[in-house]
Symmetry: C2
Subunit: 197 residues, 2 copies
């Protein structure tokens, strides 16, 4: 596979970068091949040189790249954090809120179902491994340390991601007060301590 900077793969690299920005902002179905081409300053059919199998191939290539970067960065940040669950979750939430790109609800409900079956299965697995598994692992470890109660780590990861996702997903009329980081911390406290007095 040609690398960036080798002149051979430069065009490909640029295509992936621009496509990533658009796909992550508006989703697979929300972006047309023409829009991507326009943003690149080329004509729409020229994209088929880089993704001969079509739009779904381009999307999967973009997703793979983005998820791999995400997974690596998340791993680094968790490794550098304190060993208790609250500190780890704060690191995760802050990274997810700043790096932005993944809109899980849209991906799971709109993008992935719109892909051809084989591509959808691959995409699903990639998301699971890069996004859910690392978080589920945090909960599992905390359980092994007897830090938290015996709840399914998978369910806990799903709940955590849903909460984070909801910070971006919904906008209620009278907006949440304060910056997202603050709400993120409040959600973590809520998850760990509960809301009862």
């Amino acid at each position: 596979m040609p690398q960036p900077g080798t002149r051979v793969g430069m065009a490909r690299e640029r295509v992936l970068q621009v496509a990533e920005r658009l796909f992550m902002e508006r989703g697979y179905t929300g972006v047309s091949m023409r829009e991507i081409a326009d943003a690149l300053g080329i004509k729409q059919p020229a994209l088929y040189y880089h993704a001969p199998e079509g739009k779904h191939q381009l999307y999967l290539a973009v997703l793979e790249r983005a998820l791999e970067r995400h997974r690596a960065e998340l791993h680094t940040r968790i490794a550098a954090s304190d060993a208790d669950l609250r500190a780890q979750l704060r690191v995760v939430v802050r990274w997810l809120l700043h790096s932005v790109p993944f809109n899980m609800a849209r991906m799971a409900q709109i993008d992935i179902p719109a892909l051809p079956a084989a591509t959808a299965a691959t995409a699903s697995m990639l998301v699971w491994e890069a996004l859910y598994l690392p978080i589920a692992q945090l909960f599992a470890n905390a359980q092994a340390r007897h830090e938290i109660r015996a709840l399914d780590p998978t369910m806990l990861a799903g709940a955590a991601v849903a909460l984070i996702d909801s910070l971006r997903a919904y906008d209620v009329p009278e907006e949440y007060t304060g910056p997202p980081e603050l709400i993120g911390d409040q959600l973590i406290d809520m998850l760990l301590d509960g809301v009862l007095i």
Copy 2:
């Protein structure tokens, strides 16, 4: 406005019922006017007799009906439940899981943005009033009873809806274990008691 059973409004009523089923299952953008017409056994242009302003008008009419029924039923069930927050949340979650229809993440991110601005604003407000407000009110009341800590009821309602929504929205490879009602109860306990030991 013609009522069902008066023969005058029967066709309209049937249109709204069929359109509701499809819109709630697959969303505004996920259903075409042709599909709705096919399901009704009529031709696509005939729908424009019932919704002269087009698809968005049909969607809004459907949404209004569905939300009003939802709001009324939720109100009744909450009124009939015990007065403590856990019991009330259980009632809410069970109703949301069984009545199904609203996929909040999809509505907020896909359907509403796809509507004309004026229709979108109306839809947004209707959802807020019928879905979020009643739940936020439960939290506010619990706070007044000093049952829970002083967290923004709006944020709590958003979190609760996000958690419930996520039960339908995502399917992780190794599925959550057990029936949705059980997971629903677990999520409520998690929200109220926290996960720390």
